[in-house]
Amino acid sequence: MVTANSELGYNSKVEGGVIVSRADAAINWIRTNSMWPMPMGLACCAIELMAVGGARFDIARFGAEVMRFSPRQSDCMIVAGTVTYKMAPQVRRIYDQMAAPKWVIAMGACASSGGMYRSYATLQGVDRIVPVDVYVSGCPPRPEALLDALMKLQTKVRSEPSASRLLSA
């Protein structure tokens, strides 16, 4: 008797050792769940960033707990704090040293827009120096807000045409 396969998940009895999917889905699934951050902690937002890494908020639930202090090993730069003009070239250098694919989260008012520092010394938004994927409001943002930003970034990465980009690269 032949019946329609009504199972939604993978069933080894039906499908054997093969799973059919799109390359994008597989690549993005891997990227989404192992997004190692480059913690660019420059001011008080970095304290909230540390709280996100702690047990209560636990960024490990999203596979992003591996804070790498080397740009070579990280995928997502979290700019947490006030970027001064003196620091801006270093932020850009570190971004340049990160291996592609790479993303940037601007955490807090200062990183997003200069915040309350409308001053001769402060870069008026880190997007003037690196491309930003997600902005987080707050001064500083609650840890939940950063987790929300990470989830937003994961949603964005899931929809990226990763396979065609890899082929064309």
Partner: protein
């Protein structure tokens, strides 16, 4: 206690005069006596801790234009805190004062900050470089002629500026500086806001229709 120290200081340095002060005793000394006077306070009156070195810019065209101010604290005699001020020598563009790193090694970074913000050359300083702004920054931000918003100039690193097209820009405050109000009022009214509210939604700009129409 502090006043006794300054009385003794004025006896030893006759050119020193009292300086108006709302809190701690203060004294003006001629620039030539400055290092000797500070050394006298440190060695004879146990003012062993240099709290701060700062400066005053009186205004463009004022004479004297710059005054350096030293804050001294005694850690062995309670409540002893004095201020010593001296008018700078040199030109308006390049004022000078003697370095006191030989008396307090901790003066090193204070004097570098003072140089960074006011451009005062501390003669005899072992390493007079900028400390907050980067080397090569062309202005002295706490001088009176420097606008609050800043002045457009180059980024510290040329190739980053070329790659990103970003420069150091003037960042004018939107009607600021912002001042909080005190007193018994609701929290919304106490929020920091600009004195000039010409751009805000509370007041109507001349070329703008009101954002909030109040119904009678």
């Amino acid at each position: 206690m502090s006043a006794d120290a300054l009385t003794a200081l004025k006896a030893k340095f006759p050119q020193a005069t009292d300086r108006a002060s709302a809190d701690h005793p203060a004294v003006n000394v001629p620039l030539g006596d400055l290092v000797a006077a500070l050394g006298f306070l440190r060695d004879e009156w146990a003012f062993d801790l240099l709290m701060d070195v700062t400066a005053i810019d009186w205004a463009e065209g004022a004479a004297p234009r710059f005054t350096v101010v030293y804050h001294l604290l005694s850690t062995t005699r309670a409540g002893s805190y004095v201020r010593v001020a001296a008018n700078c020598a040199g030109t308006d563009a390049e004022p000078t004062a003697p370095s006191i790193v030989s008396l307090w090694p901790g003066a090193n970074w204070h004097e570098r900050e003072c140089f960074d913000m006011f451009g005062i050359k501390f003669e005899g300083h072992p390493d007079l470089r900028r400390i907050l702004m980067w080397d090569g920054y062309p202005f002295y931000p706490l001088r009176k002629e420097f606008p609050l918003a800043g002045i457009e100039t180059e980024l510290p690193v040329a190739d980053i500026q070329e790659e990103t097209g970003t420069r150091v820009i003037a960042a004018p405050m939107m009607g600021g500086p912002f001042v909080a109000s005190a007193g018994e009022m609701n929290l919304t009214d106490a929020e920091p806001r600009a004195k000039d509210e010409s751009w805000a939604d509370r007041a109507t700009r001349p070329d703008q229709t009101p954002l909030r129409q109040v119904k009678d």
